[in-house]
């Protein structure tokens, strides 16, 4: 392929997530008319907010070509601890929420320490902290489910200017993350580190500090997303947060964030990715599809997204290759 055609293919690939999104909405809308009703669409956003918040954190890590497999476990630990504090200690919900988010941020910072300071491979380090978190949470809850008081669960049904609180929280997180990534020096350095960590070090960027912050931010988002999910579900089960890391990573990748680092955006990318995943589940539900089909369909979509990502990065590296002979590509191709 000549460079011009490669560029065209790249442009098409970059817009595939958006096309997928439109396709899913139209398909489900055609199959189940109730899917496109305003009530159901709002419901879709509410359902997607927890995933979107967690996926925003995952995007930070993916942008540095890392991965955080512990977000589901972080959600579980934070939820288990807040259940304890609410039920056994009688803390009030705002304090519990604050504690939950703080703990999650610290947990993310631990990941950051392992990856940035000790130089562990992110995949292994966060797989380890995933087991650690699950185990700790099991020990805290004695593997029993805890039903939370209404003072906590009513938070999920609060509205602000008519918008459900979970959606408001998700919007604020996405807005802040977007601003941080696009408008601050630190944000732009995250992209540089993800593109080429060695070159970033040579350019004078404090690479460990960037990595450390990125994992801490991911933990923080996991805690916040966990709090939203917890208020919606109303109970801490041993499966709480299970496999959330996959839906978070899938949402980011569906939204165009590259697993190879350096490419992707929280807005619109990850936000749309999260809604897309939720739309598929919601749509299948509306169609009364066999629940065992859900993972098959979601898995298929994730597979396509990852495939597109690797095709795209191969094209990019072909375009970026150093040329020995200038001005020849156009001259030589009739």
């Amino acid at each position: 392929m000549n460079p011009a055609r490669q560029r065209a293919a790249l442009l098409a690939l970059n817009n595939v997530p958006l096309a997928l999104f439109a396709l899913a909405l139209l398909a489900f809308g055609a199959l189940a008319p109730s899917f496109l009703s305003p009530a159901n669409l709002l419901n879709l956003l509410v359902q997607a907010s927890a995933t979107a918040i967690v996926a925003t954190g995952a995007t930070f890590v993916l942008l540095t070509a890392g991965v955080d497999l512990s977000v589901g476990a972080i959600m579980f630990v934070a939820a288990a601890l807040s259940g304890k504090l609410l039920l056994a200690q009688g803390w009030s919900p705002p304090w519990v929420l604050a504690g939950m988010v703080l703990l999650s941020g610290l947990y993310g910072a631990l990941n950051g320490f392992l990856v940035a300071r000790l130089g562990l491979i992110a995949f292994i380090a966060t797989l380890g902290t995933q087991y650690l978190g699950r185990g700790f949470g099991m020990w805290l809850t004695e593997t029993r489910a805890m039903n939370l008081p209404e003072s906590f669960t009513q938070l999920a049904s609060l509205r602000w200017l008519g918008v459900p609180l979970p959606v408001v929280v998700a919007a604020v997180v996405i807005g802040l993350a977007h601003g941080l990534l696009m408008r601050t020096p630190l944000g732009r350095q995250v992209y540089a580190v993800g593109q080429d960590a060695a070159a970033a070090r040579k350019a004078g960027i404090n690479v460990p500090a960037v990595l450390w912050l990125v994992y801490a931010a991911c933990g923080l988002c996991a805690g916040l997303g966990g709090a939203v999910a917890l208020a919606q579900i109303g109970s801490v089960a041993p499966t709480f947060g299970m496999n959330r890391e996959f839906s978070a990573i899938a949402a980011a990748v569906l939204g165009g964030t590259s697993l190879f680092g350096g490419r992707g955006r929280v807005w619109p990318g990850t936000a749309f990715g999260a809604v897309l995943i939720q739309a598929v589940e919601n749509g299948l539900h509306n169609l009364n599809a066999d629940p065992y089909l859900y993972p098959l369909v979601t898995g298929g979509i994730i597979f396509v997204a990852v495939l597109l990502d690797s095709v795209r990065s191969r094209l990019l590296s072909a375009l970026g290759r150093r040329r020995i002979r200038p001005d020849e590509a156009t001259a030589a191709n009739p």
């Binding site: 601050t184 732009r188 350095q189 290759r321 040329r323 002979r325 001005d327 590509a329």
Partner: protein, 535 residues
Amino acid sequence: MSALLQFERITKRFGGVPVLRDITLALPAGVTLGLVGENGAGKSTLMNILGGNLRPDAGHMTWDGQPYAPSGPADAAAAGIAFVHQELNLFPNLSIAENLFLTRFPRRGRWPVIHRRALAAETNRWLREVGLAAPPDTPVERLSAGERQLVEIARALSSEPRLILFDEPTTSLSDRETRQFFTLLERLRARGLTMIYISHTLEDVLRLSDQVAVLRDGALVAHGPREQFDKDRLVTLMVGRRLDRLFPARQPTGGAARQPTAAEGAGAPGQAAPDSGKPEVASVLPQGVPLLEVRGLTRSGVVHDISFELHAGEVLGLFGLMGAGRSELAQILFGLEPFERGSIRVRGRPLASPQPTRCLREGVAFLTENRHEDGLALEASIADNLALVTLRRHARRGTGWLNRVTLADAVRGIREAVRLTPTARDAAPVRTLSGGNQQKVVLGKWLLAQPPVLILDEPTRGIDVGAKFEIYQLIVQRAEAGAGVLLISSELEELIGLCDRILVMRRGEQVDELRRAEFDRERILRAALHERSAA
């Protein structure tokens, strides 16, 4: 004139091999110094020492009268030294402006928020300076190679350095961009900026510099005002002659004699004059089917219309300066990179879309340029590395289990053949070996496969003289056993000492071909150096 930068008896060795010997050089403020030398003459090493990437083994530098011993690139930047490297160090996923100001973004007051208007204005100022008409928020990946080079130059200028170093800045620029770049250099020179200009385009060096320095074999062989030099003198100074190098004698017509079935006489060197070490070519025209036949091989932007034949018993040299496309050609031949037009035939059979596994099956082996990254599994044992390519031959029929006895025999045999240091155990990690022994492991790995076509990319880089000689012997033995060897090297001496024929490449094109009788250092180097046709 006081010296802004002074090198004082700088010496550097890599693994015992001296690459810089006693360099003493003073650069007065406001002067443009043209630095020339063949590949491996020591230019890059000297500049890496200046940039803080390497530390000299002996000697020191002074900067502005003060001792200067940078411990990293940050120190060089802080001193006011900027580099425009041949290889681009840009982040393609970021915009032009972000690449320029990545670690010193203009901020909105005390907030850590980028002041985008100020950023765009600052960037535009530097883009105007280098003559690049692109909006500052353009992602670098949308730019052509030439435009990226201009961004790199803008980045260097935007740090407002006192000394700026250009390493082959024009290789990816078009003629128009080059002319623009030269007027920029004139402006900078008029402003009194001190510059070091490294290039293989000697006309440019002579035109742009106030002083010229020539490096050869790590030593400074000439330094003076530009008026003392012309192109011929520079070429003569650059080539010189190395006397500490020995080459194994080529057995005249050896390959053909021992391999009566192989293509007769190929490029075999014919009758040798006994003591010249440079046998006369008995004008044997290649007969029979060549081992490797390349016709019109083209990949746009990389290599253009390459055609040659490699015959049994022949060592064919491929010379070119850095970035001439030699390694890229080898990668295409071994199926690591695609090509667009042309054909490759191995022993008469066309290789339409070569893949490394297919090439191996057809009998083509490729020793890569970088043994650490591509050639070796550094943590794996010597035995495992040696056996890697031929492992299948030791699988037992039926079960597929490895036959450890034949495997150990093969490893022992090849260790002796390449004369690997006997003190290292088979199980020792390759990492623990010296560079020369590591290279013998890579070569041994391929020799075990006994490939009819052996492509060697810089097989003696960074190894000591003794190991070099032993590798030369292995190459010659292989050719005499009837194989064809394509030898890529930056060392002209090496090619002249070993080859039957030399092809010269420049900018992805084949520009000259010399038979052994015609070998002439100056002619080869002249062909390899860039000519500037349009100016």
